[in-house]
């Protein structure tokens, strides 16, 4: 816990100065303008990644003091308390307590607080002051506080706390120079932070602190801060996180808790109340304006917010607006993304033509063009959808609507044991499960997040559409599919997938991932105009994370799939042999046949199923290759040709292969089966290992098999 220990995780100082770049942490409640301040301080000098082992975004940047000295700024996830309840808050706590080996312990801390809501914001600040490290307090949204009739006297607050307090409007860049001047000070004062721990608790704090120092090797002030956290949260295991406390410390805590249980001391309540007492007195001394925010209630900002809310959460209009916003978002991902996706396709095509001309024909040529380049395309083709989804999500988050969407949807999601925050990820998965799964990051409770990730791919994504269209055409067999039949079958498939998602969410919450029903303790921030710059930053960051982490896996798996479909080559004496039938994929189709025969599928369909792992729509081109249909540029014409070819396909005994029952069954298989390496790669990334993606692959594909088995056997028995 030596603050001057250099760490590999710190980027090297850009100046030639021999001294280590000081490390600052930026800490604050959610919705207090922290990201805006971070972006304003660091500009584009940011590195975004993940904290190892958890899916919490790690943002580190370089900022400069007013005198040009560089400093490393860590943007810690928004937190309401150091008694962490979500993975985000746990990271903030662990970095501040110096528990993470991958992140340097901050030398100095910049706390940012929302001036319109100072009391609750000061709670976290009060906990941080316990750490005894230099703190600069930024009071953000001073303009909104003034509008609300509140005057926050930064000078008085600074005097009371003994630390620099900088009034600021981060969204307009006001106060930044003052902040950078404060950061220039070589001698930031330590906070004056004497507060009385309730007398009933004081001996316990002292004893725990001593034990944490002696038995857990903690520095004195960190030990005290940890002791206080142990007396705030009922669950000491959660407080300890990944760094379990020693038996001696645990013993002391247990003894005290037993004693308090005996004399009915509400220890946690007393401690939190003691902090709020101090904060209440501070607020009285430093804020003028009606108490307890009643001025804010009447302020124009909150009145506007209330007027919007009266409509947005209205039993009729609320749903209409919700549906309209979701439809716009869905439309955006679904159709708007197809334009840049077309560009990407033609760009990759042009590029591969150029490369193709450079490399002499041969196996290496095929590897580069059909294996690697196709894999690269497979990665970046998802980017438009991901970027558009995250643009919308960022917009909804920064305006405050996201919290309202979760608020009105909570009742529905609670039926399956989730909360309102799972709704957006599931809805987005109708376009593509990848951005949907990435959007599950907004769910705090790890189990609920995992359940959402596990069921998200049941939502019929856009890649299944071409497969459904082909199979519906093959099922009906006529040139013109009646619109009613088509729409009806499509809706049936979407309903099946949605039903599957809800059923399994309910099942997992009952069994495998049983947990307390998720809470819906969520702040509903006032509506604000979105900061487009911050939204774009966040969108770019998430897109980049996808390319960097999931992209490599997708690329590698694409090359493997390409290899399986092309090797071994047919022997030279059989030049007419179908190379696909002869490849490993073809052989796998044969091997797979006994497994899928009870579903009515043969080895040729098996090849299609295997190749669908690259992307589900590959089924169509796979069928084109197997049934030797020339692909033309006209999509509808080639689909009609393929449909006729499927219709003509027979089993060895001469009966038709693609009977209506088999077509229907294949569609059902595509609804339920997990057949997408990109999704597997993203789930691996988001859950931090192979366990869950493999489980998902198994249970979803198992469900598909079972459903198809029942349908096919029942259908046969009924004479179809």
């Amino acid at each position: 816990m030596n603050p001057s220990t250099p760490s590999a995780a710190v980027p090297p100082a850009p100046s030639a100065s021999p001294a280590r770049t000081p490390v600052y942490a930026l800490v604050g409640n959610p919705n207090c303008g922290k990201s805006t301040l971070f972006n304003a301080l660091t500009g584009l000098k940011q590195k975004v990644g993940n904290y190892p082992g958890v899916t919490v975004e790690r943002k580190v940047g370089t900022a400069y003091t007013q005198h040009g000295q560089p400093l490393t700024l860590i943007d810690l996830p928004g937190a309401y308390s150091l008694a962490a309840r979500s993975p985000d808050e746990a990271v903030t706590r662990d970095v501040l307590l110096g528990r993470r080996t991958d992140t340097p312990t901050p030398d100095r801390i910049i706390c940012i607080a929302d001036a319109t809501n100072l009391e609750r914001n000061l709670y976290l600040v009060h906990q941080i002051l316990d750490l005894g490290r230099p703190v600069v307090l930024v009071l953000n949204m001073m303009d909104l506080a003034a509008q609300a009739g509140l005057t926050v006297h930064a000078d008085r607050l600074s005097r009371e706390l003994g630390i620099p307090v900088i009034p600021c409007e981060a969204a307009r860049g006001k106060g930044l120079i003052e902040l950078k001047l404060a950061l220039s000070r070589p001698d930031l004062p330590l906070p004056r932070h004497a507060w009385a721990v309730p007398t009933a608790l004081a001996p316990a704090v002292a004893e725990l602190q001593a034990s944490l120092m002696a038995n857990d090797a903690k520095a004195p002030l960190v030990a005290r801060a940890e002791a206080l956290l142990l007396l705030t949260d009922n669950d000491p295991v959660r407080v300890a996180g990944s760094t379990a406390h020693s038996a001696a410390t645990t013993q002391i805590l247990e003894t005290w808790k037993k004693r308090w249980a005996a004399d009915a001391t509400d220890w946690s309540g007393a401690l939190v109340a003691a902090r709020y007492d101090v904060i209440g007195r501070l607020a009285q001394q430093t804020i003028t304006g009606p108490a307890d925010g009643s001025a804010y209630l009447g302020s124009s900002a909150l009145q506007t917010s209330d007027r919007i809310d009266a409509v947005v959460t209205h039993p009729v209009w609320g749903w209409a607006i919700f549906a309209a916003i979701m439809a716009t978002m869905f439309f955006g991902i679904f159709t708007l993304a197809s334009i840049p996706m077309g560009w990407i396709e033609s760009l990759v095509a042009t590029f591969s033509d150029h490369v193709s001309a450079l490399i002499p024909p041969g196996e290496f040529h095929d590897l580069v063009i059909d294996g690697a380049l196709a894999g690269v395309e497979g990665v970046i083709i998802f980017l438009p959808q991901i970027l558009i989804l995250f643009f919308f999500i960022g917009l909804l988050e920064s305006t405050g609507y996201m919290a309202r969407a979760a608020f009105i949807m909570d009742r529905v999601m609670s039926r399956v044991g989730l909360n309102g925050k799972s709704f957006i990820p599931l809805l987005s998965s109708y376009a593509c499960a990848i951005p949907g799964i990435m959007a599950a990051r907004t769910i705090e409770e790890p189990k609920d997040r995992l359940v959402t990730i596990l069921v998200a791919p049941f939502m019929s994504c856009s890649a299944r559409l071409p497969v459904y269209l082909l199979l519906i055409a093959a099922l009906v067999g006529a040139n013109e599919v009646p619109v009613g039949t088509q729409v009806g079958l499509m809706l049936l498939m979407y309903a099946l997938g949605t039903g599957g998602a809800f059923f399994f969410a309910w099942l997992f919450k009952k069994t495998l991932l049983r947990g307390a029903p998720p809470l819906m303790i969520m702040e509903l921030p006032p509506y604000r105009l979105p900061r487009v710059r911050d939204v774009l930053y966040q969108m770019a960051e998430r897109g980049w994370i996808f390319v960097k982490r999931a992209g490599t896996v997708i690329l590698a798996l694409s090359v493997v799939l390409w290899f399986l479909a092309n090797y071994p080559k047919p022997p030279a004496d059989q030049p007419d042999a179908d190379p696909l039938a002869h490849s490993y994929a073809g052989k796998a189709g044969h091997i797979l046949e006994p497994v899928i025969a009870p579903l009515g599928f043969d080895w040729r369909i098996g090849i299609g199923l295997i190749q669908s792992f690259a992307a589900r729509e590959v089924f169509n081109s796979s069928m084109s290759v197997i049934f030797a249909v020339e692909e033309s540029d006209d999509e509808a014409a080639s689909r009609a040709q393929l449909r006729d070819a499927l219709h003509a396909a027979t089993r060895p005994d001469g009966t038709a292969l693609f009977t209506p029952l088999v077509c229907l069954n294949l569609m059902v298989f595509y609804v339920f089966a997990m057949q997408c390496i990109s999704t597997i790669a993203v789930v691996k990334r988001e859950t931090g290992g192979w366990k869950w993606p493999l489980f998902q692959l198994g249970y979803m594909t198992g469900t598909a098999w079972l459903a198809c088995f029942v349908i096919y056997q029942a259908g046969r028995a009924l004479g179809f």
């Binding site: 308390s81 509400d266 709020y276 307890d292 969520m522 702040e523």
Partner: protein, 78 residues
Amino acid sequence: MTLAQLTVGASATLKAYPQAGPAFTRLREMGLLPGTRITLVRIAPLGDPLEIQVRGYRLSLRKTEAALVEITPEPATP
């Protein structure tokens, strides 16, 4: 009387709630303490969760938790 029974628009003073339970540790840390004034702002269209005003900000919580929060209602303002 509990918070779940409060009518929309009415205010009350928080009296007590269970000591244990993750919901209540967090509610406490969010500033809901005995003596704190709260106002029920609205109920979600489907009847759950609730939106309350406390210490100048808005917070949602489910009825199951609200039903355990004891309050002293303020006399209705004319």
